[in-house]
């Protein structure tokens, strides 16, 4: 792996922290919420976390492919499959899920073929499938429930999900199938990554893009189907996409995103299931979704680089920094033009030029000890004059870099003029630029 960057370390730390919090939640819930870890609670929590991992990992790809709504259409499309499977083969969970998977899978293929053969756009095609398949499912369920057959009881729980019905064998089924899905994902990792990022290039390189797309959609269908019993066809999309959305905020690497998404999914699934045990009236599926979206909200707010609060803080910092820099330049230029750096500059003039940002800038400069106020005028301190001179010189060097960079064979760097150029270029390169400045600019 080599050395880890600060960003990588932060992500792995977060992954560790979420895992730790998941574990610590068990004693916390026992002590504070007085949760009793009965067999049912244990099974449902375990099922919830494992399902969270599976849907978190596979849902990451749905998010990156901008197919979040496709996930919603697919989970709704699963319902008629449940009903038909019941009519054909009776009430066996794995059979019902296979039926759900087939109906959902036919739904994806239908959407894809409509999009590729007609002028109908993807969102419309998804709307058609979502409504039609779901309507068929509801109609079939109503027909089944009207039959004098006791075994149909609870089949409608697939609409909203019913976690309490989960037994140990169901958890084994989710784990086993989830593991298979992960193996496929591992084998085709590189292909999935390429096809998600640049399908055209993948096609030109001889990858069978249609096949890879179908395989990936199939895996997403698998994740959806596994979650139906717990979350139901209506809410499953939340489990699928929430962990991925949250994870995307924290990292810029696909593998980290997928792992973080799994951890978020496990946390939401486990914690949501346990929280729903506080009171028998709290449904599990919706509770898991609520926890998952709390994680999304926290991520949207606080994630460094992308979060709203982070962005706000950075914008405020930039505003102050730039205001200080611009005001310092104005002050320096005016003072020099009027007899020297220690010449006092009237505040009116600075405000007249810079407006409110000049006021902000002066406050910053005063705090740094760069300027002193003297009866409505501002005077550069020795420190301030030096900073202003350094800044002016730095800008000259950047100018020289832009003009002579190619000629002097300097490396290509981002022109970030707010930074001191000697932070980005080698000492030797800066010396060459200084030399060029002495000879005079073109």
């Amino acid at each position: 792996m080599g050395h880890l960057s600060a960003e990588d370390r932060r992500v792995w730390l977060l992954i560790g922290a979420v895992m730790l919090m998941s574990v610590l939640f068990i004693p916390f819930s026992q002590a504070v919420l007085a949760i009793k870890y009965t067999y049912t609670v244990r099974i449902v929590a375990l099922g919830g976390s494992i399902l969270g991992i599976v849907s978190g990992v596979l849902g990451s790809f749905a998010v990156l492919r901008r197919e979040s709504l496709m996930g919603d259409a697919l989970s709704h499309a699963a319902l008629p499959g449940v009903a038909i499977a019941f009519l054909l083969a009776g009430r066996e969970l794995s059979v019902l899920l296979i039926g759900a998977g087939i109906a959902s899978w036919i739904g994806v293929q239908f959407i894809r073929s409509v999009v590729s053969t007609t002028r109908i756009k993807q969102d419309t095609a998804m709307g058609i499938v979502l409504a039609t398949w779901f309507a068929a499912g509801i109609a079939l369920l109503a027909y089944i429930q009207a039959r004098p057959d006791a075994s149909q009881a609870g089949l409608d729980s697939f609409i909203f999900g019913q976690a309490a019905a989960i037994v140990e064998r169901d958890v084994q089924l989710i784990s086993g199938v989830g593991m298979l899905a992960f193996i496929v994902l591992g084998l085709f990792w590189k292909e999935f990554k390429l096809v998600t990022f640049d399908p055209e290039f993948a096609g030109a390189n001889g990858f069978r893009v249609r096949f890879i797309n179908t395989l990936l959609s199939t895996l997403i269908v698998v994740a959806i189907v596994l979650g139906l019993q717990l979350a139901g066809v209506i809410l499953m999309v939340g489990m699928l996409i929430a962990p991925g959305i949250a994870a995307r905020q924290w990292t810029q690497k696909l593998n980290q995103m997928v792992i973080l998404s799994a951890v978020f999914g496990a946390f939401a699934g486990g914690v949501g299931a346990v929280l729903s045990a506080v009171d028998t009236d709290v449904p599990t599926g919706p509770m898991i979704i609520v926890v998952a979206f709390v994680i999304v909200m926290i991520s949207l707010a606080f994630a460094p680089g992308r979060g709203l609060i982070w962005t706000w803080l950075q914008q405020r910092g930039d505003q102050r920094r730039f205001a200080a820099q611009i005001t310092l330049r104005d002050l320096y230029r005016y003072a020099q033009a009027h007899g020297g750096t220690s010449h006092p500059v009237p505040e009116d003039i600075l405000i007249g030029v810079g407006g409110s940002s000049a006021q902000l800038g002066l406050k910053q400069l005063e705090r740094r000890g760069y300027v002193n106020a003297q009866a409505g005028k501002w005077v550069l301190t020795a420190q301030g004059a030096e900073a202003a001179a350094n800044d002016a010189h730095n800008q000259q060097l950047w100018d020289a870099y832009r003009v002579y960079g190619d000629e002097l064979d300097l490396p290509l760097i981002n022109e970030d003029r707010q930074r001191s150029i000697d932070e980005v270029l080698s000492d030797e390169a800066v010396v060459r630029l200084e030399h060029q400045l002495e000879r005079g600019m073109r």
Binding site: K190, F197, E200, N205, G206, R248
Partner: protein, 257 residues
Amino acid sequence: MADKKKSIALSINDLTVAYSSRPAIWDIDLDVPEGVLMAVVGPNGAGKSTLIKSVLNLVPRAAGTALFYGKPYEKARSLVGYVPQRGSVDWDFPTSVVDVVTMGLYGKLGWFRRPGRKERELALHALDQVGMADFAQRQISQLSGGQQQRTFLARALVQDAQIYFMDEPFAAVDAVTERAIVAILRELRERGKTVIVVHHDLQTVVDYFDWVTLMNVEVIAAGPTNDIYTPDNLRRTYGGRVAYLDNDHGVTALAGD
């Protein structure tokens, strides 16, 4: 270009592609000799991108064939490098510059095999060639348009192909990047590669390219730039609404309203 024995890198015969029964390109016959830098020039909707995509089997053909050194594309993939339009991907995808360049080697790796140290070194070398060595670890979401284009170019270089197809590599890049791309194109030609570029800037065709194909759904004219890039041929390609000036460098076209 008197050497008639030069081998043909790309040979297109009777190629037709239709989108909902309207032909996007019609009955294209084109031979591209090895070692030329060829511009594909024509107005919007002339089928330039479609030509490239159909040659690379990315869109279905209604008729015709394309042969690479006499072989169909399925058997000649390792000979072909491709630079799609920069706007065709989501640059907010969570990955780094060196990762994207490594994708150029996925095709050679084949199913299931993962890129390793060797692939990474090749990618870093290609980034160095396009002047992006310092950007290897950068997230692609932080790149400027010109840097995105160079990244795509590096991904094609790493493919180490014989024939390169580039879809508007000069679109909306600054002068520095344009110069860097031209330098790379010339280096490719010196190494005997054939480069086919969809190009929009009529002013630079003569400077940059030694071979040109003028097309508007059909091929209007193709051959050495000096012979083919004439006001008459341009008028036959673009119609009368474009004004042409003859100057020392050959032909310059000014788009009229």
